[in-house]
């Protein structure tokens, strides 16, 4: 197989992406799919805000509003934020640790296609009767009563499939980071984003199984006559809430820790200073992950767990503010005395600190169980979690997009347009959500599709809707920026920002298929910076140039995930139509058959020979 780049037709490119096991191309896939779901979730958010713009509005009424609201939350968390973070992990982690590939390229591709088909299945519900309508938490007492259409079944099976994909992705990153670090890359020399990914993957490994169990129970109850959550038959509806939040709370750390990682990279790079308190950063990340498992019931203070349980979970929750505070101060001290360059990613990073701290402060307010009885189910909660998720995660995603775009695609996004996007998004974000604190404190309930006039909520809601449109315009400008850059963006060298510290900036942009012609020798934290400070232009190699072993592409991951997609349709309808069960079984046979093929076909990959590597390196953009 030749690796020499040449012009390919649309069909060939499509086939390439459908069969790829290259982590860099899987990153593109995650970015595109996650981006589309992000736009979809954003559209749903706009619809919500239009409905709430004035009292007694009838833009989306009752059930339809519930569906849009449920799908906004579910899409944004499972299908936009997580996959977009996975996009950056795939694009950057192997490069940051000096590896040629991930540990399980096939599994990595399978993880993507599982996520993709799960998300596709979930969104098919729009066209097949109705979307899930019990909120993104889908509490059993609501979702078991949602019998008008199959919405909840699409939620259950869609998230189950995409959840499998996420677990696969996490296992792949755990093994990659443990086993495939370049010589000299000790754990305490790993870049912060790699550390965050490692800890996040461990969180996914432990947090997703409770969700899987909960979803299986829910599937049994909805589709196969089970009674796990049905109190009338001896079940317990509260179990779902616990299982969901045992997953759901670590889930928010699964989102925010990689975001912290992205910001840590950006702060160090554009302050042109070593990250302040590196080891305390690592320790804080691990501590947040550890504590994150002991606080889930703070989402359930009003369920009636009793004062002792509430007190324990309240105190545990407040302790999380400590390692998070450590991180905030470390970022501030990283900037202090640095030679700061205000690029677009740095704009997001600087804006992130006050925005996220505001979300953190309301978080501590909410963690006081007694006070939570007042805040519960009001717009105050909505304001809180949008401050941490938009002010933390979405800012990080936008910052990461600008920061790593040159590395992923070899072209620099337009900085002027980037800064316009930033300002519009930043203003729009605070306009939308700041006022919601006060709407909540004056009693506006969340998840209700309308409100009456003369309760003092008109102005607040209108301001909030205006803010949402600012964010929408910002997103459109980002898309325009991407199109312009793709068409006529300037090609960039390997060290696109000129201040790269970590290994990914030492190789060409976009990197060659084998990443590193020679595995680098890592001599300290910020390995590339270290070499540059000693006047070198390249990394010190740890091995002579030789043949490089690479995995073969495979169509099987797509087929395995597609089988589950078909099976999910079959089982959703197996109680209503005769074709349901056979289709379900057919889908499982497709999946199991292709897994069998994967097991029996010997695939030893191929080698890129030394001469080819030399030729590619000579042609490469990397000087």
């Amino acid at each position: 197989m030749s690796t020499i780049a040449r012009k390919k037709g649309v069909g060939a490119v499509l086939w390439d992406y459908l069969t790829t096991v290259d982590h860099k191309k899987i990153a593109h896939l995650y970015l595109i799919a996650g981006g589309i779901f992000f736009l979809l979730g954003g559209l749903e958010a706009l619809f919500i805000r239009i409905q709430l713009a004035k009292p007694n509005n009838d833009f989306l009424v009752g059930g339809l509003y519930n569906e849009v609201l449920t799908m906004h939350g579910t899409t944004m968390i499972f299908l936009a934020a997580m996959p977009l973070l996975f996009a950056f992990m795939n694009a950057v982690i192997p490069l940051q640790i000096g590896a040629r590939d991930v540990a399980f390229p096939f599994l990595n591709a399978l993880g993507f296609w599982m996520f993709f088909f799960g998300g596709l299945f979930l969104n098919c519900s729009w066209f097949l009767g109705g979307a899930p309508d019990a909120g993104w938490t889908s509490y059993a007492s609501l979702s078991l009563e949602s019998k008008a259409h199959h919405g909840i079944d699409f939620y259950t099976l869609g998230l189950q499939i995409s959840g499998f994909g996420t677990i696969m992705g996490a296992i792949n990153f755990l093994v990659t980071i443990i086993n495939m670090r370049a010589p000299g890359m000790t754990f305490m020399r790993m870049p912060m984003f790699t550390w965050a990914t490692f800890v996040t993957s461990a969180l996914i490994l432990f947090a997703f199984p409770p969700l899987t169990v909960g979803l299986i129970f829910m599937m049994m109850d909805r589709l196969f006559g089970g009674n796990f959550f049905n109190p009338a038959a001896g079940g317990n509806t509260i179990i779902w809430e616990h299982l969901f939040w045992v997953f759901g709370h670590p889930e928010v750390y699964i989102l925010i820790l990689p975001s912290f990682g992205i910001f840590s990279e950006i702060f160090a790079t554009f302050s042109r200073k070593r990250l302040f308190g590196y080891s305390s950063m690592v320790f804080a990340t691990v501590l947040i992950a550890f504590l994150g498992f002991m606080v889930w019931a703070h989402h359930m203070f009003t369920v009636g767990m009793g004062p002792i349980a509430n007190a324990i979970f309240a105190v545990a929750t407040m302790t999380i503010a400590v390692p998070t505070g450590v991180k905030i101060f470390n970022w501030l001290f990283t900037m202090w005395g640095g030679s700061i360059k205000f690029t677009t990613p740095m704009h997001y990073a600087v804006a992130f600190i006050p925005s996220f701290v505001m979300g953190g402060v309301t978080g501590v307010m909410l963690s006081a169980a007694a006070a939570d009885y007042q805040y519960h189910d009001s717009y105050f909660v909505v304001a809180h979690f949008h401050y941490v998720i938009v002010g933390g995660v979405v800012f990080a995603l936008l910052a990461g997009t600008h920061y790593w775009w040159p590395k992923m695609f070899g072209r620099m996004l337009n900085e002027t347009l980037g800064k316009i996007t930033f300002w519009l998004f930043f203003i729009g974000f605070h306009l939308t959500f700041f006022i919601q604190h006060f709407l909540g404190l004056t009693g506006m309930p969340r998840r209700v599709f309308t409100y009456l006039p003369n309760q003092g909520w008109e102005t607040g809601n209108f301001v909030s809707t205006v803010g949402a449109f600012f964010m929408a315009i910002a997103t459109v400008i980002l898309l325009i920026n991407i199109v312009i850059t793709t068409v006529k963006g300037e090609k960039v060298p390997g060290d696109a920002w000129g201040d790269g510290r970590t290994l990914e900036w030492a190789i060409a942009s976009p990197p060659p298929v084998y990443n590193f012609a020679q595995t680098p020798l890592v001599r300290g934290l910020d390995a590339f910076w270290l070499e540059k400070m000693e006047g070198k232009k390249e990394l010190t190699p740890a091995e002579p140039l030789g043949d490089i072993h690479m995995p073969n592409s495979s169509f099987l991951p797509f087929v395995i995930a597609f089988g589950l997609f078909v099976a999910a349709f079959g089982f959703t309808y197996h109680n209503d139509a005769g074709w349901g069960l056979p289709v379900g079984i057919l889908g499982l046979l497709i999946t199991l058959g292709s897994m069998f093929l994967r097991s029996v076909i010997d695939d030893h990959g191929f080698h890129i020979h030394k001469e080819e590597v030399l030729e590619l390196e000579k042609k490469g953009a990397n000087a």
Binding site: I178, A202, L205, F293, M294, G306, A309
Partner: protein, 110 residues
């Protein structure tokens, strides 16, 4: 893991490896005998009418935990070097599960 050495020359450490393997084998045999013994004790505990359920259930669960430890450490070589990460993740998972079961039994089913 026992066969992995840093030396390319097999004869250098042959005697050492022989001794190591013999020791390993002895441990496995002892563990195996103990495991059979523990199984017999578990059966006996269940079979003996005089013991109340309140004693038998925790008792055989304890024996099961010991069995799992034997399995992991003697037969799956977790006692050897290079198993720190699997051990960490296994104990992490066990800790999360215990916390969950403990919380569920105290908060939901009290």
């Amino acid at each position: 893991m026992a066969n992995q050495t840093n030396s390319g020359n097999e004869r250098v450490d042959l005697a050492y490896r022989r001794r190591k393997n013999a020791e390993e084998m002895r441990h496995q045999v002892i563990a195996f005998v103990l495991m059979i013994l523990l199984t017999l004790i578990a059966f006996a505990a269940v079979g003996y009418e005089e013991f109340s359920h309140w004693f038998v259930v925790p008792f055989i669960l304890l024996l099961a935990a010991v069995q799992v430890a034997f399995q992991l450490y003697y037969f799956m070589h977790m006692s050897h070097k290079g198993h720190e990460f699997p051990a960490m993740f296994i104990y992490g998972g066990v800790a999360v599960m215990l916390l969950l079961v403990w919380a569920f039994t105290t908060v939901i089913w009290w």
